[in-house]
């Protein structure tokens, strides 16, 4: 192969790669996309690790469902004074509107 032919061949390849701007952009875009997908897949993997599935077991003698995981047991709070836990009222801002008398409570 003559050096002239070799030069022209390489010039053709270079023009094909670097002369076609769209192709170059498309390639870069696809690499970015691939990178993002990879990062997302890794993030999902991490998130999944933070949750665990707990299986309830049915006790046929006491006819109740139980969770064997100790930190997931029902805690007995004893006698709660629910009246003391009553929500506070909602405060509104008003002017000196007339009041209505009524026996409707």
């Amino acid at each position: 192969m003559k050096p002239k032919h070799l030069f022209l061949y390489l010039l053709g390849i270079a023009l094909l790669l670097f002369g076609n701007r769209d192709l170059w952009d498309e390639l870069q875009e696809s690499w970015e996309k691939e990178k993002k997908q990879k990062a997302l897949a890794e993030a999902n993997k991490d998130v999944e690790k933070r949750f665990e599935t707990q299986r309830l077991q049915y006790d046929s003698i006491s006819k109740t469902w139980k969770n064997p995981t100790y930190y997931f047991q029902i805690v007995n709070l004893g006698n709660l004074n629910f009246k003391a836990l009553k929500k506070k009222g909602h405060t509104t801002v008003e002017i000196d509107d007339d009041e209505n008398a009524s026996d409707s409570l």
Partner: protein, 312 residues
Amino acid sequence: MTKMPQTAYKHYIAQTRFLFHCHIKVKIPATYPEALLNDCFAMLEAIDLQYNSYQEDSLFHQINTNAGQWVSVDEVTISLLKQTIKISELTHGSYDITAMPLIRLWGFYKENIAQIPTKEAIQNCLTQVDFSKIQIDGNRVKIEEHQELITGSFIKAYAVDQVIAMLKAQGVTDAIINAGGSTIYALTDAFHEKWNIHIPHPKKETNLAKIPLSNRCFSLSACKHQFIAIEGKKYSHILNTNTGYPAANLQVGLLSDSACLGDMLSTALFGIEAKNFQETIQRLQKVFNFEAYLIDENQHLHQHNFKSLLPC
């Protein structure tokens, strides 16, 4: 060019909570902290628990559950009892705090009432309804077996009086407490001279009149919403404890310095027969200072010294 409004509205903070089986609204100037509103409701709640006969641990409930025995109570219970007895005497028993058995007989706590009680049942029940059988000895009280006290006609108003006293002690001079629409106490000062109160029509869904209220309480007893229906006929929830039958009147409005006294008197006047209104009022006014009107079953207005009614 639009002019700016000339009136600068004063702002208030308000809260409404459900206590004493009704919605109670307390409204004070916005210059006071929200904590003061919470204190008002804490006081209402404490009085409800301590004195309401419907509350299981209250002093009046203890008197009821120990009927036939002496029960030690506090000074407040004694003074409330003495006040009710005084009004019962002045109304010749039309108002009676021992009316609970009669109220149960009429079925005010039942859902479906098929028929009115028989004459015989009412007469039997009236033997238990007698304020003169309440015995007071120092700080001890005793009612007869089968007797039962009901505080429904005054305990909410007593609580309102106590909250008003607390607000005054805190320096509040402008405020309003609307307890279920039937007990409304207004505080006013030189900068806000009156609150306006709308009085409902006894039959229609409109207002009958309005009254200015200033450092007094307006008490309303009516049967527009509070009644039982038996065989298609409406019966008022307020009973005439002399006859044992529900009062026929439509509405009583009363102005007084004390909410507690006002509620007791408006219930008492609602229970009487309209023809006895003027005579009863004259007897009561020898002891208590108040203004009142009564609208009878024929929608006739009877009034005595009630100068404040204004057309709407």
